[in-house]
């Protein structure tokens, strides 16, 4: 754990607490690979209300393809439920510029027209470049622009946060 960063597990518990009672009982959780997928899995277990879980890889919807090319290690999105008419909680680890969320919303609509989309994030670090706001936030942080907040998952499923120098893409 990098000094100054909140504990990931404690933040996750706070996020789950904020979602409890707020999230529709039939809402599906959709995690954005890779960190958001881990958070979505954990939230579904912690809330224990049988929320369906799906995963999105937004590589084919990113807005930096023109200058950065296709990201390697793209994974297949997996939404094993009908998106049309569903209430969906998009889940990501870190909300920053809002560009990943924009890509994820665009991708969701290629599966169908959801009834509603909410957004849950473990960390909101500010710095938005698009008009995107989270419905549920674990913790808000102020972080230098040249740092990335990176979520990792240990073999036992425990989550941890670290700050790393930003890798140019």
């Amino acid at each position: 754990m990098t000094p100054g960063l909140p504990d990931a597990e404690g933040t996750l518990a706070a996020l789950a607490e904020r979602m409890r009672g707020g999230v529709a009982p039939d809402a599906a959780f959709v995690g954005i690979y890779s960190g958001g997928a881990w958070v979505a899995d954990r939230l579904a277990t912690m809330l224990g209300a049988g929320h369906r879980v799906g995963y999105l890889d937004v590589s084919f919807y990113r807005d930096d393809y023109e200058r950065a090319g296709l990201k390697p290690n793209a994974r297949r999105s997996a939404l094993d439920f009908d998106v049309a008419g569903a209430t969906i909680v998009l889940v990501d680890d870190v909300l920053y510029t809002g560009r990943s969320v924009r890509a994820a919303i665009n991708e969701l609509f290629d599966y169908g027209r959801p009834a509603a989309i909410e957004l849950a994030v473990l960390i909101d670090r500010g710095g938005r470049e698009l008009p995107v706001e989270a419905t549920y936030v674990g913790a808000r942080l102020s972080v230098a622009r040249d740092l990335d907040i990176v979520l990792s998952r240990a073999a036992d499923g425990t989550l941890a946060l670290a700050a790393e120098p930003r890798v140019a893409r």
Partner: protein, 328 residues
């Protein structure tokens, strides 16, 4: 710059700029294409089978030689990437090759082409075009070889590799038999290159002596002239199309005789492993190189090959077009 000239499909950083041949293409590049095709295959299962990656890009299908299937799958792949597709069937009638082809390319580049998908009866034509674009400061325009002469058909080779990996997972313990007109087959040449690069230990070529390229053993393959020995115990049987014009050249006695010796029948397939898969690049000659009972049988993955071909071509085009290179 000599390295670049020899292998114009890679840029200075080893990124894929054009796809011309699987020969000499590093395993990491092949694996990246196959890995990227996995999520693209999932796009094909969606209601909306489109992603916005190549929005605003123009893909020119430049077919100097006819091929309905390959052209169609490239067209579908480009459209699923949201590109604009322009099909040009130039045909075999164009008289002088070299200069005419490059003039065509120059004109189409002036119409803001981003990707050329090139099928040509002359081996090396896509290479010539790519080298021309690189040499004239237009390396942001990309070339995909859709089959050149007897040389290579790299996207077919990649979709064959994708199909094999899909069903068999790992190349490093596989026996793959390629049966038929290997001598004239760019499909076979691409597949052998790719299989070898990915570490396939047992690659077999099964064909009559007249249809085996000379010195093919030097590429690490084993040659069998008898079908029952060639397919014995193998995991994958790849049947090649017997082109009818080969009969006229006295390379073979008759199609009936060929089917008897090399046609894949249920009786011959029994000699392969019980879970062996059967592949064919199409179009098939039923009753010439393959029996209908096999082509339509439960071991046949011939139609999945076609479906996978779209995802593989989406992966190739999105990787190369995302690698713009220096704009001069």
């Amino acid at each position: 710059m000599t390295g670049l000239a020899r292998n114009p499909q890679l840029d200075a950083n080893g990124g894929l700029r054009h796809l011309l041949t699987l020969e000499g293409l590093p395993a990491a590049v092949i694996t990246r294409i196959l890995d990227t095709a996995v999520p693209f295959a999932a796009i094909g299962e969606r209601e909306v089978k489109k992603v916005p990656l190549l929005r605003g890009k123009a893909v020119f299908n430049l077919f100097f030689e006819n091929s309905t299937r390959t052209r169609t799958t490239f067209e579908i792949a480009a459209k699923r990437l949201s590109a604009d597709v322009i099909n040009l069937n130039i045909g075999a009638s164009s008289t002088s090759k070299g200069e005419t082809v490059l003039d065509t390319i120059d004109n189409l580049t002036a119409m803001d082409a981003d990707i050329f998908v090139v099928r040509h009866s002359e081996s090396g034509a896509p290479h010539l075009i790519a080298a021309h674009l690189n040499a004239t400061g237009r390396s942001h325009v990309h070339v995909v070889n859709a089959g050149d002469g007897r040389h290579q058909h790299p996207t077919q080779g990649l979709l064959d590799l994708f199909t094999i990996r899909h069903y068999k997972k790992d190349f490093r313990d596989l026996s793959v038999a390629i049966v038929g007109d290997v001598l004239h087959s760019r499909v076979a040449r691409s597949l052998v290159s790719g299989l070898a690069t990915l570490g396939t230990p047992d690659i077999r070529v099964v064909a009559p002596r007249t249809l085996v390229p000379t010195r093919v053993e030097a590429t690490g393959v084993r040659v069998f002239n008898e079908m029952h020995k060639g397919v014995a115990g193998c995991d994958v049987v790849v049947m090649l199309r017997l082109q009818n014009e080969r009969m006229k050249g006295a390379l073979l006695p008759s199609t009936g005789e060929y089917f008897k010796e090399y046609g894949l029948t249920p009786e011959k397939l029994v000699l392969a492993k019980p879970d062996a898969i059967v592949m064919h690049p199409g179009p098939m000659n039923r009753g010439v190189e393959i029996d209908s009972a096999v082509a339509d049988g439960e071991r046949s993955v011939i139609l999945p090959q076609v479906t996978f071909g779209i995802a593989v071509r989406m992966a190739v085009m999105s990787i190369i077009a995302g690698n713009p290179g220096p704009r001069e």
